[in-house]
């Protein structure tokens, strides 16, 4: 048996043995296991599952074992993902540190920073927020104005960040700040790590069209940050940020599988709300046809991701291909949301708890919330600009 087949067999056996049955169903929002000092588990099974995965380093399967990661190769990671998908295992940990900061630290962090932060991320001890956008710096992110003034042994941070996801629950934030205002706007930006418990940090939740408040505005008022918390060198933050944005875009595109609360099947929902005729066809031919559109896009995206994986593995990456994922993936999610809503008919329109089933409310909330996907992490329009210039070579 080849080493990878052996790994597959062992992994399968370990998951069968260690993943509790309750953790093998699509995850609902309240049962997601988010990192943090004040981490709470919805059920004892969730705690058990998290701890077992953490102890194996499989919350961060490919990170080096010296930082608590699983030390797996990308092929082994693929096997782990497939085996987890086979059993419908829930993700064992949710955290922006895990998805975004960690990969950037592995590339740009000092040894001391890796030692300090990576194992805490793997162990889910710290919940991270991201501080990029500002009220006046959205798509034009590099025009950001939050200042970090060099005070010798520390920096003094002043300004505000917006769309900081669940910053009111976060322990630390990684942020882009201006350390030098004299050059072009892409210069003089630094990537800095800030403890949210520092004096002068405050957050205000923002109410969204979905009725939720996932995002906050975060204010920094004379916040002292130690000098060693700069990542990737002073004034070099844009390089780090670009690295990290790649991870965010990948994440946004695969949001459906990673943080989707409950994965609705269009066909099942339509069969229930619209019904089928005696030949097994959905009763609404127009919706049936648009379900075909959506399924074809969604499944094609899986194949595109798979193709990209094989390209990475054989070191033949078409440089334009990864750039398509965020644009295509977020559109596909919204296309699905629109159909789900439409299938519900007028049940998709009431807003009071009592006239909704939890499932219906979930669909409506997701429909409204997921409008964020084509905006956050680089709008679709910005993605198309990037594709036009970098993949297609069109002039600036």
């Amino acid at each position: 048996m080849s080493p990878i087949d052996e790994f597959r067999q062992q992994t399968r056996a370990w998951l069968e043995e260690n993943c509790p049955a309750s953790q093998r169903r699509p995850v609902v929002k309240d049962e997601q296991i988010w990192a943090g000092r004040d981490r709470v588990f919805a059920t004892p099974d969730a705690k058990l599952w998290f701890e077992r995965m953490r102890d194996k380093g499989w919350t961060a399967p490919t990170w080096p074992t010296e930082y608590g990661g699983g030390g797996l190769s990308s092929d082994e990671e693929k096997v782990l993902e497939k085996e987890m998908a086979r059993l419908n295992c829930r993700p064992a940990l949710y955290d922006l540190g895990l998805w975004m900061l960690g990969p950037a630290l592995l590339v740009h962090g000092h040894e001391a920073q890796k030692q300090e932060h990576l194992s805490k991320i793997v162990r889910g001890d710290i919940r991270w927020a991201q501080g990029y956008s500002e009220p006046a710096a959205g798509s034009d992110l590099a025009s950001l104005k939050t200042r970090a003034e060099d005070m010798g042994d520390h920096f003094l941070v002043n300004g505000t960040k917006i769309w900081t996801t669940q910053a009111d629950k976060a322990d630390w934030i990684f942020a882009l700040v201006r350390t030098d205002a004299s050059g072009t706007k892409h210069q003089g930006i630094s990537f800095i790590l800030i403890d949210m418990r520092s004096a002068g940090v405050s957050t205000t939740p923002i109410e969204l069209i979905s009725g939720e408040s996932e995002f906050c505005q975060t204010f920094f008022d004379d916040v002292k940050v130690p000098r060693e918390n700069i990542v990737g060198g002073l004034d070099n933050g844009w390089t780090v940020a670009k690295e990290l944005l790649k991870h965010e875009r990948k994440l946004m595109a695969t949001m459906e599988s990673i943080v989707q609360r409950e994965d609705e099947s269009l066909v099942e929902l339509a069969a229930e709300y619209i019904g089928m005729d005696e030949s097994g066809k959905l009763n609404d031919s127009n919706i049936r046809s648009r379900i075909t559109d959506q399924l074809m896009t969604a499944e094609a995206l899986e194949y595109l991701n798979e193709r990209l994986f094989f390209q990475y593995r054989s070191k033949q990456v078409d440089s334009g291909l990864p750039l398509t994922i965020k644009y295509l993936g977020t559109n596909a999610i919204q296309q699905k949301d629109e159909l789900l809503l439409e299938i519900l008919g007028n049940h998709g329109l009431s807003w009071q708890e009592q006239s909704h089933t939890p499932r219906e409310r979930n669909i409506v909330q997701n429909w409204a919330y997921n409008k964020a996907h084509t905006i956050a992490g680089g709008t679709s329009e910005i993605q198309l600009n990037i594709i036009a210039k970098r993949a297609l070579g069109l002039p600036a």
């Binding site: 066909v267 398509t324 644009y327 069109l394 002039p395």
Partner: protein, 372 residues
């Protein structure tokens, strides 16, 4: 889902060869000065020397082991160069049907087909569009009666593989047989169709054509069991060809946008055009991923690729159609002239749409296979 080293070499060999030997101007020549068979025999023989006719055969029949991903690379180049060849009809469908039937035709006929000395055309369509389940051509008492149309490579074929009803009172794709009919058999009339894309198809009448049992390929009355998987593979190959055409159009359009100036700047600097090109690129890579998924599934031994084939054809149709419309539009006035090649791709895309099933056919089939 990526080409291996041998497949990449095959790909670049075919690309270089067609660039040199048969750029798009070769299709113009064929269109403006048609020959009887509808393709350039010398070109086809040279392609056969490069091995294209034995790419996906089993090894005992002289197969080269490049697999379906390798075949896809060849089809992509055929699509990029708009090359008129019997590749799809005689090899991807014809030779594969003979091989799959695994009877005396494998020794009597297959070597000649692979060598290019005989040419096969699969005679299936009867009405306005592809619908094998509605086959009405029938063999009764040893006589074949019926009419086929839009037969790919019909004018250049030496023999036809005719899908006909042989079981009395059968319906749909049950009760069909595949019958080998020589072009010069008594009662066969071939009318050439010059299609809008400069390629050649045929309308064929079979009037009381005498057929003996030796001419039945594979299992009588059960042809569809063998034919359907072959057509799924051919559909994937056709989708690969279509995306080759779409990719060529995107590259030509980008070159034009990087060259043409208006308002004192390259028109490619306009965001309205940039975004449309970027969207086309995304659509192309999405469709390409389905084609590769299907081709590599065959290479990995997956027997049933019906759903992937329909999926690939639908996305290839949407992509090539959109790409060709946008390419015409972005070339401006030049786009509607016959002087540039864009219009040839536009026309080819619509012809490909109808071959082996249009968008409605494959969308319906996909939905059924998914159970809704």
């Amino acid at each position: 889902m990526v080409l291996n080293e041998e497949q990449r070499l095959l790909h670049s060999t075919i690309r270089d060869f067609l660039n040199q030997r048969a750029p798009v101007v070769a299709l113009r020549e064929l269109r403006d000065n048609p020959n009887p068979q509808g393709f350039d025999s010398d070109l086809w023989n040279e392609l056969i020397e490069l091995g294209v006719s034995s790419i996906v055969l089993n090894e005992e029949n002289g197969g080269l082991g490049f697999g379906w991903m390798g075949l896809g690379a060849v089809m992509e180049e055929i699509g990029r160069h708009l090359t008129a060849t019997p590749m799809l009809s005689s090899i991807v469908i014809g030779a594969a049907l003979i091989e799959a039937a695994d009877d005396h035709h494998s020794t009597d006929l297959l070597p000649d087909v692979v060598a290019g000395t005989r040419n096969l055309a699969f005679a299936c369509d009867e009405g306005l569009r592809y619908n094998p389940g509605a086959t009405s051509a029938a063999l009764e008492n040893g006589l074949l009666q019926g009419e086929k149309t839009f037969v790919i490579n019909g004018p250049g074929a030496t023999d036809f593989l005719v899908l006909a009803r042989t079981a009395a009172d059968s319906k749909g794709t049950d009760g069909l047989s595949l019958i080998l009919v020589p072009r010069d058999a008594a009662g066969v009339t071939v009318n050439r169709i010059h299609s809008v894309d400069g390629h050649s198809f045929a309308q064929i009448k079979f009037d009381q054509v005498a057929v003996d049992n030796q001419q039945i390929i594979g299992v009588p009355d059960r042809a569809w069991d063998t034919v359907a998987p072959i057509l799924d593979r051919a559909t994937l190959a056709l989708a690969a060809e279509m995306l080759g055409g779409a990719r060529e159009l995107l590259e030509r359009t980008l070159a034009y946008l990087n060259d043409r100036e208006q308002f004192d700047v390259k028109i490619g600097s306009f965001q309205a055009l940039q975004h449309r090109c970027a969207q086309l690129f995304c659509q192309l890579e999405l469709a390409q991923s389905v084609v590769y998924k299907g081709l590599s599934a065959i290479d990995q031994g997956q027997q049933d690729v019906a759903k992937l084939a329909s999926h690939a054809k639908v996305l290839a149709i949407d992509c090539y159609q959109k790409m060709s419309n946008e390419a015409v539009q972005m070339h401006g006035g030049m786009g509607i002239t016959d002087e540039v090649d864009i219009g040839l791709f536009l026309k080819r895309s619509r012809v490909c749409n109808q071959m082996l099933g249009d968008s409605s056919f494959h969308r319906e089939r996909f939905a059924k296979l998914c159970g809704y």
